[in-house]
Symmetry: none
Subunit: 256 residues, 2 copies
């Protein structure tokens, strides 16, 4: 007898393949286990872990009853590598002590954006920072959006496992539901991947240097601002090709 209201999986296989949960330097093995549990609860399958603290990471993987997806989790040394193939990178965190540099979206408003990106064949990453301090300013510069879970200011900071559960619940039920009719969307161009944006940023930066755009001491800050700018503009792959073409030509002329 089938009693449950839900399907075996909440997500289609294709959706599972194109949605990454990324943990940056998680510390607590219990939290890592809780993240994997929430992913399994809501039908997510791809976990990436950036620069984990090795002993705790191995403890989490080998815990009794550990989720199978911990065994297939992918380890990366940097966030840039982890999200290289993604077209929409969503950072998480509370804003109490930080002035955000990217667009901030309330979690209840995130679903349509993720749904649209998935319907267009994009690849989405949801990125969580270390338990203590959350994502750094540099981590966030790789993100197109910053999502905020609405919490009260008396106790804004959520436990990692609970924050992941809340986000995945929201997306599984409101962005990725299996029965959502595939909308008319072939119009919008394919988004550029994070890797392509980095390539473009590199060429623009070389042009900046070749044009003596600013003193060498400003380069780090310029690189950071450029990364933010490209995420705000969110060019399509076609746009990236066009802009790359122009800057390569400019660069060639400047360096000649």
């Amino acid at each position: 007898m089938r009693l449950r209201l839900y399907n075996e999986w909440l997500l289609t296989e294709d959706q599972r393949d194109r949605f990454d949960v990324v943990l940056v330097s998680p510390r607590n093995p219990l939290n890592i286990g809780a993240v994997a549990r929430a992913m399994a609860n809501f039908g997510f399958a791809r976990l990436k872990v950036v620069a984990p603290y090795a002993p705790h990471w191995h403890e989490a993987k080998s815990a009794v009853g550990a989720e199978q997806l911990l065994a297939t989790a992918i380890e990366k040394a940097t966030l840039a590598e982890a999200i290289g193939e993604c077209t929409l990178v969503v950072g998480t965190g509370t804003l109490t002590y930080r002035k955000p540099e990217q667009t901030v979206v309330r979690l209840p408003d995130l679903a349509p954006m993720v749904r649209q990106e998935m319907e267009h064949g994009g690849r989405v990453a949801l990125v969580f920072g270390p338990e203590k301090h959350g994502l750094t300013r540099q981590d966030l510069s790789y993100c197109h959006l910053l999502v905020e879970i609405p919490t009260g200011a008396k106790q804004p900071s959520m436990n990692l496992g609970q924050a992941v559960a809340v986000c995945l619940y929201e997306l599984a039920t409101r962005a990725l539901a299996v029965d959502e009719p595939a909308a008319e969307t072939a119009m919008r161009a394919r988004a550029a991947t994070a890797g392509r944006l980095e390539l473009l940023a590199g060429v623009v930066e070389r042009a900046m240097v070749a044009a003596d755009y600013s003193p060498a001491t400003m380069r780090e800050a310029n690189r950071h601002d450029l990364r933010l700018l490209l995420r705000r503009l969110a060019p399509s792959e076609r746009d990236v090709r066009r802009i790359l073409g122009l800057f390569r030509r400019i660069l060639w002329r400047l360096e000649r």
Copy 2:
């Protein structure tokens, strides 16, 4: 400077007073702590605990960093006593192994019912069972509704702390919200005017010419594409200033 999108509390004081979270015989002190944390995150204040296992309950209450609401939690011997004053009692659980005897509501559909009850001056209880087996058939007989969190059948059973977080997130944001925050409009940067985009297009076009980007016969088509590109990217006024600065510098170098 106020950066967060949300109020100090997500719920009004009156709502907090008329919403109880009830744990029936919780075992794991870490779970009890996680429940209290989630309640604090989402602005709930009233915790009731039914027949707790005394040593673990005291351990949870006295843990370092325990939420203040654990100290004011109310202990009851039976569920019947705990929910005596409530007008809507909502049980939680997965239905995999049990045939429900009451109306089952998906969590995403629960908010309107809770909102209506609260608006009519009612008192609502959300009841969670012990970690291992969930609410018994007798416990459920005190419930008006049974709410199911949509999870995939491969791993339907949620961790208690995560289940509470997901339910309270859903109700705080969709049933009890104090007011819609006049949100990200304040954060989103001012869009550039069409006139500024044209100015930018002119400078970029001059850089294209100076760099011999394409033959003169293509200039009309390039100008058109550039205009489309800038609208697609929709830079803010601040972004326009930044891009203008770079292209003016490049132009100056190319034309020197």
